[in-house]
Symmetry: C3
Subunit: 369 residues, 3 copies
C-alpha cells in the first residue's frame, strides 16, 4: 500500500459538461445483500416488520430458530403479516388467519378448503451472518452468486467489536461522501482536536474506490477517544501521522481501516446504509466496528465505555450534518454541490454507475416528506 501514486488531490475537477443525473435520485441497486435487522432484534417465535426502499418485509424467526423473509402484506387484505402469529415454522395473519410457510406459499385459510387455497406472497432470500440478518431484495435468481460480506475481524478474537447504527434522514450517498471525505474533521473539532487529514492518493476499480489518509494534529492536545483508536502519541505530529487510514466504498458497502506504522490493522469498520422509504430519503445505518486489543489484557474492555461515548458523539455529529445536506437538497430540488475534492467526485461517479437504473421521483421543493 505504500506504492500507490500520490495524486494531486488539490486540483479542482472540472464539472462534467453533460449534466449527470442527480445522484440523490439514484436508487440503491437491489441486487445485493442488505442487512435489515440485527439478529438480536428477532426473538424465536417472533416477527419483525422492516422496510427496504419502501417495500414492507416481515422477518420471521420460527420456533426452530430459522429465519425467513416475506412481503409484509397478507395476500388477502394487505394487512401487515408482522402483526401475525408464528405457528411452528409458519406465520399466520392476525386478521382472518391466513397462513404462509417460509416460501410465501399460503398453506391454510381456516374457512376455505385446502384444495382451493389462494396464491401466497413474495419470499426474499434471507441469510444470517455474524449477528446481522441479510435479505436480497432484488432478483432472487442472482442471490446465490452474490457474495455475502465476511466481516473477518468480527470473528477474530484479537478484536473487540461494537455494533451500532440508527435511522438517518438522508440519501445513502451523503453517508458515503461523509465518511470518505476526511477533510471534514473540522466538524468533529471538539472530539478530534485540530486534526488535519492529508490524502495520499486514491484507487478505483469497477465497483469500488478507495483513498488513503494520514493525519497531523495542528494544535491542541490529543483527546482521549482519539488515542484509543490511533494509539497515544507523545507529542503533536509524533505518531498519529504514521498510521494510514483507508476508506473504501466497495459497492454498496463501505469500510474504514486504520493500519499502524507497522502495518497492523488496528481498527476495522464495516458499514452500510439501507434505504427505508421509497424516496430513499431515510436510511438505516448498520455499523460493525472492530478494534484490535492492545497488549495489556482488558485495557480495551475498561476503555470501552469511553469508546462507545466517543463513537456515538462522532456519529451524532455526522448524522446531523448529512440530514442538513438532505434538507438543503430537498429545499432546492436539485444538487447544487460544488465539490472540489477529486476523491469525492470519483466516489459520486461510482455510486451513479453502480446504482439502480431508474430515477427516484422525488417531490418538489417545499413538499412535506
Amino acid at each position: 500500500m505504500r506504492a500507490v501514486p500520490v495524486l494531486d488531490t488539490h486540483s479542482i475537477d472540472p464539472p462534467a459538461s453533460a449534466p449527470a443525473r442527480d445522484l440523490r435520485r439514484v436508487p440503491i441497486h437491489p441486487d445485493h445483500w442488505y442487512p435489515l435487522a440485527w439478529s438480536r432484534e428477532l426473538k424465536r417465535g417472533k416477527t419483525l416488520g422492516v422496510r427496504f426502499a419502501g417495500d414492507p418485509i416481515v422477518l420471521v424467526r420460527t420456533e426452530s430458530g430459522a429465519v425467513f423473509a416475506l412481503e409484509d402484506r397478507c395476500a388477502h387484505r394487505q394487512v401487515p403479516l408482522h402483526a401475525g402469529v408464528v405457528t411452528g415454522e409458519s406465520i399466520r395473519c392476525c386478521y382472518h388467519g391466513w397462513t404462509y410457510d417460509c416460501s410465501g406459499r399460503c398453506i391454510d385459510v381456516p374457512y376455505l378448503g385446502r384444495e382451493r387455497l389462494p396464491n401466497g406472497v413474495r419470499a426474499y432470500p434471507c441469510r444470517e451472518v455474524r449477528g446481522l440478518i441479510f435479505v436480497f431484495p432484488g432478483d432472487a435468481a442472482l442471490a446465490d452468486a452474490r457474495p455475502l460480506p465476511e466481516l473477518p475481524s468480527v470473528a477474530d478474537k484479537a478484536y473487540k467489536t461494537r455494533r451500532f447504527g440508527r435511522e438517518v434522514k438522508c440519501h445513502y450517498s451523503f453517508m458515503h461522501e461523509n465518511l470518505m471525505d476526511m477533510n471534514h474533521q473540522f466538524l468533529h473539532r471538539r472530539q478530534m482536536g485540530q486534526m488535519r487529514a492529508r490524502s495520499l492518493g486514491r484507487r478505483r476499480g469497477e465497483d469500488w474506490v478507495e483513498v488513503d489518509y494520514t493525519f497531523n494534529r495542528e494544535e491542541g492536545k490529543q483527546p482521549v477517544g482519539e488515542a484509543l483508536v490511533f494509539g497515544a502519541s507523545k507529542k503533536p505530529g509524533d505518531q498519529a501521522d504514521k498510521s494510514v487510514m483507508t476508506v473504501r466504498t466497495g459497492y454498496p458497502y463501505q469500510t474504514l481501516r486504520i493500519r499502524s506504522s507497522e502495518g497492523t490493522l488496528v481498527m476495522d469498520l464495516w458499514i452500510v446504509y439501507v434505504p427505508l422509504d421509497a424516496a430513499q430519503r431515510t436510511n438505516r445505518t448498520f455499523g460493525v466496528l472492530s478494534i484490535r486489543r492492545p497488549g495489556v489484557p482488558f485495557a480495551l474492555d475498561l476503555a470501552w465505555p469511553l469508546l462507545v461515548w466517543f463513537t456515538e458523539r462522532i456519529f451524532k455529529e455526522d448524522r446531523w450534518i448529512v440530514e442538513r445536506e438532505q434538507e438543503a437538497h430537498d429545499a432546492q430540488g436539485a444538487d447544487w454541490n460544488h465539490e472540489v475534492f477529486p476523491v469525492i467526485n470519483e466516489l459520486r461517479d461510482l455510486l451513479r454507475s453502480c446504482g439502480g437504473r431508474t430515477v427516484i421521483p422525488i417531490r418538489e421543493a417545499g413538499d412535506s416528506a
Copy 2:
C-alpha cells in the same frame, strides 16, 4: 329466518371481468341522515364544530334548547361560526359580530344598516333522535322523505344501551366489511377464545345485504365478556352455536343482531361510520349497543363495566386492523384485495352501487394524508 337457503360460502367468487371502480374512492352518498354528534356533546347556548366529508358544519343549541345546523363558515371572512356566541335563537360570529338565524339568514351586521344585509350561509336539515343529532348533508329537498333511524331497542326498557364510538382513520367501507366478515374472530382470539363462525347464508335487496352466522368454540373456555352477550354455555359447543347472529348493511347504516335459540333478540347493535375529511379516509363511528336484560334484576347493571371493557377491547382491535388496511391501500394507491368470501363481495357491490356517483380524488402513494 330459519328457512334461508344455505349458500356455499366456500366458493371463491370470480373477480369481476370489467375493472370495478375502486370502492375506497367511492364517496358515501350524502342523501341520508347522518349523526354528527351525541346530544350530550352540545350544551344549551353552545356550539359544536363538526365535519361531514370535509364540509365544516356548526351545530348550535339555542337558549331555548333547539338545535340547528349551518355551514361552519361566516359569509364575511369564512372564519368558523362555532367560535361565535349564541344569542337567544341565533349565532353571532366571533370576529365582526355578523349574526345568523336557524335558517342561515344573516340578520345583523353591527356596522351596516339592516336594509343592506348580505346573504347568509347554508343551513342543513337537522333532527335530534334518541341522543343523536342527525344532519342531512345532501339535497335538503329530499330530507323529509328519507326516514330517520328508529332505534327501537333504545326506547325499550327490556334493554340496556351503551353509546360508543371514536374517530377511525379509514374509509367507511373497511368498517362495513370488518363487521360483516365474522371469519375475523381470529383477530379477537384473546377475548373470544377460539370461536369459529359458520355462515348460514346471505340475502340481498336493493339497498341492503345481510348474512346469518352461528358460532362454534374450537378450543379454550368461554371468556366472560362473550358469556354476557351470548349467555353462558355449560360446555364448548353447547349453546353459543344455537344463537344466530345477523349482520346487515342497510345503506348507509349497519346492524348486528343476536337472537337466542328461542328467537329472543338478546343483542341489538346499530352503527354508522360518518366520513370526516374530504378524502373520506377518516370516519367517526357512532355505535348504539342494546343488550337485553336477563331475568335476574340488576345482573346486567352489575356486569356492565365488564361489558364496557369487553366491547372497548374488541373495538380497539378492529380499529387497529382497519387502519392498517387503509394504510396499505394508501401505500399501494389501489385496491389489491383478494376477497374469497362471497358475502363480502356482495357487500362491496352494494356499497359501490349505493354510494355517491363521483370518485374521491385521492393522492398518490407516499403523499402525506
Copy 3:
C-alpha cells in the same frame, strides 16, 4: 386631521367585475427593508439562522460587534452557515471549514490553495436600527435609496416602548386587514368591553392608505387595560370617543396611532409582518409599541405588567382569528371573502398593487402545509 371628508363607510363596494388576482397569493415585495431579528437575539461572536419568504439567511455578529447577512448555505455542500463558527470578522462553515467574509467572498478552504478559492455566497444589505436588524432581500442596488423606518417615538424619552411579536401562520395581508378593520372589536369583547368603532374617513396615496376612528362604549365599564391606553374615562362615552385612532398601511409597514382630544400622540405602534416560508403562509410579526408617559412619574412603569398582559391577550386573539382565516383560504383554495367595508377593499387594492408581481404557487385544498 379634523378636516378629512367623512365618507359613507356603510356603502357596500361592488365586487370588482374583472377577477382580481388572489391577494393571498401575492408575494410581499422584496425591495424594502425588513427586520429579520431583534438585536438582542444576536450575541457578539454568534450567528442566527432566519428566513425571508423561504430564503435562508444567516445573520452574523462578528467579534467587533458588526452585523452582516449572507445566504445561509455554504457554497460547498449547502449546509447552513449558521451552524458555523465566527472567527474574527468572518464565518467558518462547520463541516469542512470553508470561510466567508462580510461580503460573502470565500476567503479560505483549509485543504485548497488560496489561489484557487471557489466563489462565495450571496450577501444581503444589512442595517441595525433601534434594536432591529433589517435586511434588504430584494435588488441590493436599490437598498441605499430605500428609506429605513425611523421609529421616532422609540428614541423619545416621553415614551416607554415594548417590543413584541411571534410567528403567525397566515399570509401577511390578513394581518394588515385585521388591524385596519376596527369593526372587529367584538373579537376582543372580554378585554375591550362593548366598544364600537366609528370610522371618520379614509385617505389614500400611491403606497399608503389610512383611516381614522373614534370609539364609543356601548355598555359595560371600561376595562383597566383600555384605560391605560386611552386614559380613564369618568363615564361611558365620556373621553374615549374624543381620542382619534389612525391606522395606516405605508407599504410594507403598518402603524396605529392614537391622539388625545388635545392632539397629543398617546400611543404609537409600528408593526410589520415578515413572510417566513416560500408560500408566505407564515409570517413573523415585529411590533414596536410606544406609550406616552403620563404626568405622574413611574405610573406607566408600575402599570407596565398589566399593559403587557393586555396587549398579549389582544394579540393572541388576533393571531388565532387570522390563522382561522388562512385555514379557510387553504381549505377553499380561493378567496371567498365578502368584504363590505370600503376601507378594507381599498387596503386590499393597495396590497395587490404594491406587492410582488409574481403569483405564489400554493398547493391545492387539502394538501398539508
